[in-house]
Symmetry: C2
DNA sequence: GTTGACCAGACATACGTATGTCAATTACCG
DNA sequence: CGGTAATTGACATACGTATGTCTGGTCAAC
């Protein structure tokens, strides 16, 4: 009934502890016949290695780095906060972190930073930058050093990452579309879509998802072309004003990502916009307050704390060669309103 | 830079390992002066006990029991599945579970089962039953044996539990109300509220939350009295039909908890109800399918996998006398539509 | 000055695994 | 058959913590 140990395996297989160890850890110099007996014993007794004891013996340390975009970004700030929050819980688990800020807008700077990582002192990296050919190469280099890589928030589908921790942005866009459609059922009108930049793949995917749902299920609603405002508060205010004037049937605004603050600011200072439906992405200090103030009707978010913890767990599992507990790691697309705000 | 161990503490404090141990584990026979020196050293070096090593040395086993309502209940079934799933995961190492099914509708049966627990072979219990005076007493008895108790799904606020793992049902009701209000903005009409039973405090709290939001923010919507149908599919079908006929302005149905299947069945077989807004609680096989089929517009749910893992982590933390990682343990009120279904 | 209570320290052993050394056995080749 | 290489076993030590035993010291009360 008790958990079998390597000793039990050795006894059952009729070999020595050393041989069991050699088999279990894939070392050389074991006769196939004995290896098979050991494996049979493992199966028969249902042995599972005690990772904690193993880590203790090995003096295992998990050394991870987070590579995040620098600059003022509310989402990144909440991610950093989540990392720091996880730190104290993880020291006890022999895990340590490094946070690296890179100028995500400059591919060369990103690559320089990635290449400057001291690979010999790292076991895994979580990366949140847009995918470019240079980034792909840098990741290939990191991986060739035997370091595990997970993409964070925004997927790097062509870079051979070991995992993607984040939401499916296409579905997130669809969710926004469905919400808008249901909020505006029985109404016709148009929807303004804004974002900071459409080069980030998140925004592109969200826009696709939005359009698919709206055109498919809510054809009475029309989406206007995406307005990009590149960190320029003045521009969004101006553009928003213009859009309102030229679209008297405007019913809703959908902010697809970074730049929520500027959008909210514009909404607030323009008159006659207060009865627009407004949906934004990401739960940050700014959007939270807007939700409480009734300026936003709903937020589409991913749970950043969960995201960070998940990335850490996945990196550890990869290092241990262990399975990933999918159900636990799935990052959900959350719909947050004032009433279920946490 | 490396993690300090008890040896470092002993050296720093100028005492022996034994004394450090006596202080750390709250044993007697330590002069206050020395105890203080040890504590100072702990603070200075930032020592945190390596729980894994400690558990190894102690041969620690965590023995937990789940007390769940018996009978056909989709939510409970998903909880049981989540417990079994957790068994294979990291959260559950050195942990063994017992699942106890009780007839939650019969307070005496519940208490008999609680009293029949072998307290000497238990470290913690997670309980999901309605609170009655008898249950309160039984829990007091369990706690007096030094066993930790967490309330699951439905709070037991007067029973001195160590923790409540679940959502705030008042807020869940408010969330449903807000969703209904926004789905039906610019419309007047009435909303049908159904549940299996209003004795469960969940339903009562949800109803309060619903009413508060609707009457406060959406006064154009009227809620009808709650219909209870006590596991009687025939009854709900009949009552629903009657409600529809006598309320021609019916716009939505809100199912507050168990009994979703019967409600959906009734919705399906009655004619002319297909354009009602329908919101239900709990993501189960039944509600999931209804969401996919478009019969439900949204589901208010708690992540059952998270709920179970959280209860386990909290029980373990209590047993270890460790802190609870609040941000991780908060169970969120999820809004699930077809597009963000997982 | 002896007794006993209290307090401290030294030391050993254990948990399950990893990893090393070294000698002993076995298999294979010619 | 001998010789060599491949394989194996026995044993020791370690990781950080828990826990026991045994010895020795201090201090107050008798």
């Amino acid at each position: 009934m008790v958990k079998p140990t390597v000793h039990d395996i050795a006894r059952e297989a009729g070999v020595s502890l050393s041989t069991v160890d050699r088999v279990l850890n894939g070392r050389a110099d074991v006769r196939p016949k004995n290896a098979e007996r050991v494996k049979a014993a493992v199966r028969k007794l249902g042995y599972v290695r005690d990772t904690n004891a193993a880590n203790l013996a090995k003096q295992r340390r998990y050394r991870f780095a987070f590579v995040l975009p620098e600059g003022p970004n509310h989402l990144v700030e909440t991610i950093v906060a989540a990392i720091h929050e996880a730190t104290w819980a993880q020291v006890a688990d022999r895990t340590e972190f490094r946070i690296l800020s890179v100028n995500a807008a400059d591919p060369h700077a990103v690559v320089d930073n990635l290449n400057a990582l001291d690979l010999s002192s790292l076991d895994g990296v979580a990366i949140m930058v847009p995918e470019t050919p240079q980034v792909r190469d840098a990741i290939a280099h990191i991986k060739s050093a035997g370091i595990y890589v997970v993409a964070l928030v925004s997927d790097l589908p062509n870079s051979g990452c070991d995992y993607f921790a984040g939401i499916d942005n296409f579905s997130a866009g669809k969710t926004a579309g469905a919400l808008l459609g249901k909020f505006l059922r029985n109404e016709t009108g148009s929807i303004l879509v804004v974002t900071n930049s459409m080069v980030a793949r998140d925004s592109i995917e969200r826009r696709f998802g939005l359009d698919e749902v709206l055109s498919g299920e809510f054809p009475h609603l029309k989406t206007l072309p995406t307005i990009e405002f590149h960190d320029d508060a003045e521009r969004i205010r101006e553009t928003l004003g213009h859009a309102v004037r030229s679209n008297p049937d405007l019913k809703a605004v959908y902010s697809m990502g970074s730049g929520n603050a500027a959008m909210l600011d514009a909404l607030r200072t323009q008159s006659g916009l207060s009865d627009l439906i407004a949906i934004a992405h990401d739960l940050t200090a700014v959007t939270r307050q807007a939700l409480l103030d009734g300026e936003l009707d709903a937020i589409i978010a991913q749970n950043v704390g969960h995201l960070v913890r998940s990335a850490i767990r996945v990196l550890r599992a990869k290092c241990d060669g262990a399975d990933i507990y999918e159900a636990q790691e799935r990052i959900r697309i959350e719909i947050i309103m004032r009433e279920n705000l946490y």
